[in-house]
Amino acid sequence: MVNYILRRLVYSIPLLILISVIVFFLISLAPGGPMAAFEENPNLTPEDIVRLEEEFGLNQHIYVRYWKWASRIIVGDWGYSNVTHKPVLQEIGERLPNTLQLMIVAFTITLLIAIPIGLYSALHQYSLFDHLATFLAFVGQAIPIFWFGLILIIVFNVWLNNPISPSHGFAWSHFTHCLDCKPLLPGGGMAPYGVDNPTLGQRIQHMILPVTMLAMFGMGTYTRYMRGQTLEVIYQDYIRTARAKGLSERLVVMRHAFKNALAPVVTIIALDLPGLFGGALFTETIFSWPGMGRLFYRSAQRGDYPLLMGIVMINAVLIIFFNLMADISYAYLDPRIRYD
């Protein structure tokens, strides 16, 4: 086992190098580039342009730039963003906690709802509940996610007012037009603006809509997956044996079916975890969430290659790591699997 892990880790080094080369090369292909932002600026002299290109290293050959980047990254120097001139790690550090806060809450809620539903669905296959759950799971996959988010904002932020707060009396809809009415739910951001120490309640309020948006989407896939795995298991011989032994149905389900069905689900969860790091671009865009998704998108658009490389490399390391974790956890859970 230890050998196996070591071998995988050693293999991942050339993989990481390859990824960095490919991404670096692709970034340099994209027009736009770090200089794009300066383009419409009539106050820029030709000397300024030459100077800036030198500063960004754009006058050098791609391989020289890569070599410089790589030799710095080896010693742990991630460089500075071309756009904000802040250290790459600081940029990531400012956004990552926000992203993880949103993603972990959404992910946990998704699992807490989806796994029991999937299990129950499978145990009562073709029941009304099963049909309903299947339908809802498909609905979650069939709605374009940004459209759903916009509808959430329009309904819960624009149309519906908080009927308790205003001096205006009962005004639940924005069509009554009152200047001091508050929306029912905040339409974005992580906490109320202008508040120095937001309460937990306020933070939760701000998470309701984005979490709903994410959970709506993730729930379907996990419900279906859990259901599928459980169905796979309950036709196995050992379940039949357990039943034949006269174990109570509850015990059969919990001790045998659930446990065995969950094992592959855990693997899938592990494979999904690095995704939490990357954030959710659409959700962050619609709900003004200052997360990694938007940071990444901005740097991709503006050709901010030090930051882009930083995010891609961390992402790649996480993916490789969690892939390994998935395989190990699989072996741990299923004694039949041996890695040599």
């Binding site: 994209a30 027009p31 820029l44």
Partner: protein
């Protein structure tokens, strides 16, 4: 260990790792900052004593107003300003985005500024130097500013001529990384005979001299490193003489600015306690948020948004004609060549023929676009300089499809195969049989522009020209020379976007229309004459306009340039853009400024 326990263990482990990562990184967010960068909370001098409590949640007041809460537990008066762009850095000399100026203008002031009517007014200077008041020499080479007395930086240090001199010195230092140095390089010296007098001597006449020093850097706070890009000043260390000071900047979320107690008009102004600049990822979301009242001011709307908000009694639409004009750029050079410097011998096969460009102009019903897509909220475009002192006088073009068809027939474009699109049969530049098919491109995701394009496609179809749309994200359209962007390198037929001249149009006009401003290999891609228009009369007029301090003379020269543009149609003006902002009905003192940043009079903003 039972397998259930193992399972639970693994799940907890995996989630735990991520949670650890979350906690682990939330600390470094402040710790990892280089030590010289004061974290937002460690700037007590800038904290308002007026209890920084909540506007939306009275419950939080007790919690967040610790020791400073005096007898008056009033909430701070807060205005939330929605920007759909996040500033990259706040240092005005390295910032590249309009949004950055919008924020830094609340903190950083210059010697003079421009009001909404296009007049310069003194800010840190006592008066605007002109030839008439003797502060500018007859040849325009010597400019003197008398500074107001008793001005303090927000940290209490006095503001003097040395700061102005330092500003010039640092941004003209090659390694500073400053990008907005045009004009400053024309200065020979800045002298300080006394702390409140600035004498500037130019090497050669620089027409827009008043636009220089629209921001002044604090010498005492930024001295040390000559590499500007490493300064704290760019982000949390921003320091100025303006009405507000920067309190915190939460990346991707918001920037909080609070009253500057060392401001010269304090405590009368500013009238509100804090301004929170909220970063909104898209304009559509911004429109939703101002409707629901979550933000008080929304930046930069289009004419198409006007009717919706004029109907809404909670929102006021602030609109004023701006210097921008939405136009088509018609490429005159062969688009298959890379950045040719010889467009006359390598003409665009279709567009290089003036009659084709004229036909396109005759074929466009500009008034229909204004009336239908912009709800009559603006005027049809006629020239580059649509407002301001240098405004050109050009009559609107005529909508006359018959004349367009005639011109195309005459130019040798006839539809012989009956597909509705004309082909070249004896035309000037194109090969025989080439269909009159042109690519039109603008920024993708802009609904107004896409609607406009689709109308253009139909109008052109009507006269036998095929326009086809290929829109690209703005970062790609406005890409740089070094990255090979197609606009710079001349690989396009027709582009559609807005560009705005500044209060002094010289650099803009020269950049877009002078024959020396064609981006080529030789000049390292400098200049905005993307259509590769060579017109000696216009170029000469622009040279003259840039060489004299006489405004009448300059205006006459710009008129000549505008007339040449109208005649040659390298740019085809569609409609004039207005500067449009929204505020909630209880915001007072907001005044749109088409020449600058909307925060130009932020000290007068108030909330009822």
């Amino acid at each position: 260990m039972s397998r259930t326990t193992r399972l639970v263990l693994i799940l907890t482990l995996l989630l735990g790792i991520l949670l650890l990562a979350a906690c682990g990184t939330s600390q470094p967010a402040t710790q990892e900052k280089p030590t010289e960068m004061p974290a937002a909370t460690e700037a007590p001098a800038q904290q308002p004593t007026e209890a920084p409590a909540a506007t939306e949640a009275p419950a939080a007041t007790e919690a967040s107003a610790p020791t400073e809460a005096p007898a008056k537990p009033a909430e701070p008066k807060t205005i939330i300003y929605g920007l759909y762009q996040e500033p990259d850095v706040l240092n005005p000399f390295i910032a590249t985005q309009y949004a950055a100026d919008e924020v830094s203008k609340m903190v950083v002031e210059g010697l003079v500024d421009v009001d909404p009517d296009g007049n310069f007014y003194p800010v840190l200077a006592k008066e605007v130097p002109t030839i008439e008041n003797g502060l500018v020499s007859e040849d325009g080479l010597n400019v003197t500013y008398h500074l107001k007395e008793g001005i303090l930086w927000s940290d209490g240090e006095p503001f003097t001529c040395e700061d102005v001199k330092y500003t010039w010195e640092i941004i003209t230092t090659p390694e500073s990384g400053a990008v907005n140095t045009a004009g400053y390089d024309k200065i020979e010296s800045v002298e300080c005979p006394d702390p409140n007098t600035v004498q500037i001597k130019f090497k050669e006449f620089y027409a827009p001299y008043l636009t220089l020093f629209d921001s002044v850097l604090p010498k005492h706070a930024t001295e040390g490193s000559t590499d500007m890009t490493t300064w704290d000043y760019n982000t949390t260390g921003l320091l100025g003489t303006g009405p507000f000071v920067l309190k915190e900047w939460v990346s991707g979320d918001h920037i909080t600015l609070v009253k500057n107690k060392n401001y010269r008009d304090y405590p009368d102004k500013p009238k509100v306690d804090q301004i929170i600049v909220r970063i909104i990822p898209s304009r559509e979301v911004g429109k939703a948020l101002i409707t629901s009242g979550e933000i008080d001011i929304l930046w930069d709307l289009t004419e198409a948004d006007v009717p919706e908000f004029e109907e809404n009694p909670d929102v006021i639409v602030h609109k004023r004609p701006g210097p921008g004009t939405e136009r088509l750029l018609l490429n005159l050079a062969d688009p298959t060549l890379d950045a040719t410097d010889d467009p006359l011998n390598h003409p665009h096969p279709l567009l290089a023929d003036l009659r084709v460009r004229q036909a396109i102009q005759y074929g466009i019903d500009k008034q229909l676009i204004v009336d239908e897509l912009l709800y009559g909220a603006t005027t049809v475009g006629t020239s580059e300089l649509s407002i301001g002192w240098a405004k050109c006088d050009i009559p609107p073009s005529e909508f006359n499809p018959d004349k367009a068809r005639e011109l195309l027939d005459e130019a040798g474009f006839v539809d012989q195969d009956g597909d509705g699109i004309r082909e070249c049969h004896g035309c000037k530049y194109a090969e025989e049989g080439t269909p009159l098919r042109l690519k039109i491109q603008t920024t993708s995701g802009n609904q107004l522009r896409e609607e406009c394009e689709q109308l253009l496609v139909e109008m052109m179809k009507d006269i036998g020209i095929e326009f086809y749309i290929e829109n690209v994200p703005s970062s790609e359209l406005f890409g740089s020379w070094a990255s090979g962007a197609f606009r710079k390198h001349g690989h396009f037929d027709i582009l559609m976007y807005t560009t705005s001249d500044k209060i002094d149009p010289q650099s803009h006009m020269y950049g877009y229309f002078h024959k020396n401003s064609i981006p080529t290999e030789a000049n390292n891609g400098k200049g905005f004459n993307y259509v590769r228009w060579i017109n000696d009369r216009a170029s000469e007029a622009l040279d003259k306009a840039g060489a004299t301090p006489n405004l009448e003379e300059r205006k006459a020269q710009y008129q000549i340039a505008c007339e040449e543009i109208a005649k040659d149609i390298p740019h085809l003006y569609l409609y004039d853009r207005s500067e449009i902002e929204l505020t909630r009905a209880n915001i007072k003192g907001f005044k749109v400024n088409p020449w600058g940043r909307q925060t130009w009079n932020v000290e007068d903003w108030d909330k009822e």
